[in-house]
């Protein structure tokens, strides 16, 4: 393990987040088992109070998770010099097989936590806690992912050993360059561009339709999920190339660096929020018939759809702007 401040910070934070999640999940189980809105017992009163605690915990969790996602990339990038052949975060993440799983779990837990907050928001609007069971089931689904992330991240950090000079010998004859993964994974540019444009257009159209007519909920949710994956693929395939102005640099992480005007932060923030909002719309749909939420859910869905469209449009505009001003020209 490397005693790097960034690594220590991530380590401590995921431990704290895991503790919080376990605590929340334990209370969640109790709520699932004992919840009875009709009862006036003391236990029910305590449980009702506890829901406040749990939503506070998950809200903080989401905020921390978002920052830790970026700190993880930043730290991976800043320690890449310690490994032979690693040029940026891509190289550091491939040092052992736990790097990418950690990143994936971080993204996944962020999305689930975001969905949870949307559910929580809708639940708080209804007077009789209509979504309480769904909410706490989702929390129980989230908890194992959070714990898995902490464990995998632990393995990843403990498995990092820097290639430094030892007193007995000089040069290390280590394996050749790392970080070719994204070059192999990258889709050819033209299909990727078509895929990206089509999925973005379709998602925005579906979002507008829902916003205006209140129709096509599941379509928007499905398209948001697809657009998220397609956007990440496009980021590797062609967006990054325009930002770096290099036809061979496919890294999806370097765009958060200062050299590229930190453009990665708004891009990933917009993409993540658009995805969470789009998926959230679909998540709310099954509860549309709950009596206390009859009028509330359609309104929330409309709001979410509008916000998702704004996020995706902004994302596409930044990407288009980067492509327009880039001195790299490709077909």
């Amino acid at each position: 393990m490397i005693l790097n401040p960034g690594i220590l910070a991530l380590f401590i934070t995921s431990l704290l987040i895991s503790l919080m999640t376990i605590y929340a999940a334990c209370h969640g189980i109790q709520i699932l088992r004992r919840w009875d809105i009709a009862s006036g017992s003391e236990l029910q009163l305590i449980l009702e109070r506890r829901t406040y605690l749990i939503s506070t915990i998950v809200t903080y969790f989401l905020a921390f998770q978002l920052v830790s996602l970026f700190l993880f990339i930043q730290t991976a990038d800043s320690i890449c010099h310690l490994f032979v052949g690693a040029m940026c975060a891509v190289g550091t993440l491939t040092v052992n097989s736990f790097g990418y799983p950690t990143l994936l779990l971080k993204v996944l837990t962020f999305i689930i936590a975001g969905l949870w907050l949307i559910l929580n928001y809708a639940d708080n609007r209804g007077y009789d806690y209509p979504l309480i069971r769904a909410k706490y089931l989702l929390l129980l689904i989230l908890a194992p992912f959070v714990l898995a992330e902490t464990v995998v991240q632990c393995f990843y950090f403990f498995g990092l050993t820097p290639d430094i000079i030892t007193s007995c010998c000089g040069t290390l004859y280590s394996q050749s360059a790392r970080g070719i993964a994204s070059e192999i994974l990258a889709l050819p540019v033209i299909p990727a561009k078509i895929l990206f444009s089509v999925s973005m257009l379709a998602t925005c159209a579906a979002g507008m339709r829902l916003f205006l007519n209140g129709k096509g909920v599941y379509r928007l949710a499905a398209l948001s999920g697809i657009t998220f994956v397609v956007s990440i693929i496009s980021m590797i395939s062609f967006i990054s190339l325009y930002i770096y102005e290099m036809p061979s640099h496919h890294c999806p992480f370097c765009i958060v660096q200062k050299e590229y005007g930190y453009v990665g932060y708004p891009l990933y923030l917009l993409l993540l929020s658009g995805t969470v909002l789009g998926l959230g719309v679909g998540l709310l749909q099954p509860f549309r018939n709950k009596k206390s939420l009859e009028h509330i859910i359609p309104a929330i869905q409309q709001k979410c759809a509008g916000a998702a469209v704004v996020a995706f449009v902004l994302f596409t505009s930044i990407v288009s702007w980067q492509i327009l001003v880039s001195s790299l020209k490709m077909l």
């Binding site: 490397i2 005693l3 790097n4 401040p5 960034g6 690594i7 220590l8 910070a9 991530l10 401590i12 934070t13 704290l16 503790l19 919080m20 109070r49 406040y52 605690l53 506070t56 915990i57 903080y60 921390f64 920052v67 830790s68 970026f70 700190l71 930043q74 730290t75 990038d77 800043s78 320690i79 010099h81 310690l82 708080n124 820097p162 290639d163 430094i164 000079i165 007995c168 010998c169 000089g170 040069t171 290390l172 004859y173 280590s174 200062k258 930190y262």
Partner: protein
């Protein structure tokens, strides 16, 4: 939207006035919090700035250095090696270097002696670093003497004092001619301290290093990238170590914050009770507690960070430089180039604000769910 902003504004207003009403308690918390941020930020900024300085300094150094070892110990290198190494494809140039250290027992200082590649001083004259000039009170034109390897003194005329620009590297430096250095240090004419290689293509570094060790098994080639990597690991490790030691203090702070947050005074409990009685909801109180945390954390974070910035970049880390810099190296006064990146700020945030927030969530919730009648009865 405007309503939401108004709502938050009123709650912030109330939170601020309620914080100000309890100056003593909150002031103490703020002070401890800011000190914690200050110390951590100093460590982070300083080690980062040192790493950057090292990178800048090393970016001009040769791509490969070749040393010789015998029985695992460092030896001088025969000069004929350079001709053989020059025949390896990809090597642009090879230069034997002469340099070493000299301990001056009178002034209890360690000098670095080097024969420069370009414009070496004439035999009999030397250039000295500003640190030596200051200590010995010697200026251009003066004659200065040092004891050589055989204990006999040798006198030199000072040609130049090296300017202050790169004081970190040149403060203790003496530049002299090839002939003087061999006479001074006793290195034979066919030996050199080490060899420096220029190689253009970074992909060939390790192949060339491998060829050198095959040619001369006792050679120890060192790549510049390895030196950079080692410095990085070293500074990162040192600051990490300090943070680990310091984590006891962070833990103590978390306990302190927990205690402050749980130990609500009767007055505070009454305040919350009254708020709820006049119609505040639990979520409003939680919001108030959230803003309270934001106000405290942000103030402590900003104050601590700004103080640490001044501490590192204006006073050169008066408090704990010896631990981070190492003990055998530097005497010069130097200023680091101010530099902060987002990663450092995020790291700092995770090491201070997150533990604070986590420890106060449950106490805030407890406070927010107090029954008004239970308090006011």
């Amino acid at each position: 939207m405007a309503n939401v902003i108004e709502h938050h504004r009123h709650i912030i207003d109330f939170t601020l006035s309620s914080l100000l009403r309890r100056k003593g308690k909150n002031g103490a918390l703020l002070l401890v919090y800011a000190v914690i941020v200050f110390i951590l930020a100093s460590v982070l900024f300083f080690s980062h700035a040192l790493r950057r300085e090292a990178n800048l300094a090393l970016s001009e150094s040769p791509e490969i250095i070749v040393q010789r070892t015998m029985a695992g110990r460092y030896q001088t290198v025969p000069i004929f090696w350079s001709d053989r190494i020059r025949t390896i494809n990809g090597v642009i140039s090879v230069r034997p270097r002469l340099w070493g250290y000299q301990y001056d027992s009178v002034f209890q200082a360690n000098y670095t002696l080097t024969v420069p590649a370009e414009h070496p001083p004439e035999p009999g004259s030397i250039d000295i670093g500003s640190g030596i000039s200051r200590m010995r009170g010697a200026y251009p034109g003066d004659i200065i003497s040092f004891a050589g390897h055989d204990g006999l003194p040798r006198s030199f005329t000072i040609r130049n004092v090296i300017d202050h620009e790169s004081e970190l590297l040149t403060s203790d430096l003496i530049l002299l001619s090839d002939k003087d250095y061999r006479d001074f240090s006793g290195i034979p004419a066919d030996q050199a301290t080490d060899l420096t290689l220029r190689v253009r293509n970074p992909r060939e570094y390790s192949t060339i290093a491998e060829k050198i060790t095959r040619m001369f098994p006792e050679a120890r080639p060192i790549l510049r990238t390895e030196i950079l990597r080692t410095y990085d690991a070293l500074f990162g490790w040192r600051s990490g170590l300090i943070i680990v030691i310091f984590s006891a203090a962070i833990f103590a702070f978390a306990v302190f914050a927990w205690d402050k947050a749980t130990g609500l005074s009767a007055e505070e409990r009454r305040e919350i009770g009254i708020l709820k009685a006049v119609g505040w909801e639990t979520s409003d109180i939680l919001l108030m507690k959230f803003w309270e945390g934001i106000v405290l954390s942000l103030t402590a974070f900003l104050v601590g960070t700004i103080l640490a910035y001044a501490h590192v970049f204006y006073t050169s880390v008066a408090l704990f430089a010896p631990v981070l810099k190492g003990w055998s190296t530097l005497y010069p006064v130097f200023r680091l180039t101010p530099f902060i990146d987002l990663g450092q700020v995020a790291t700092l945030f995770f090491l201070t604000v997150v533990p604070y927030t986590v420890t106060t969530i449950i106490p805030s919730w407890r406070a927010a769910t107090i029954d008004p009648d239970a308090v006011m009865r």
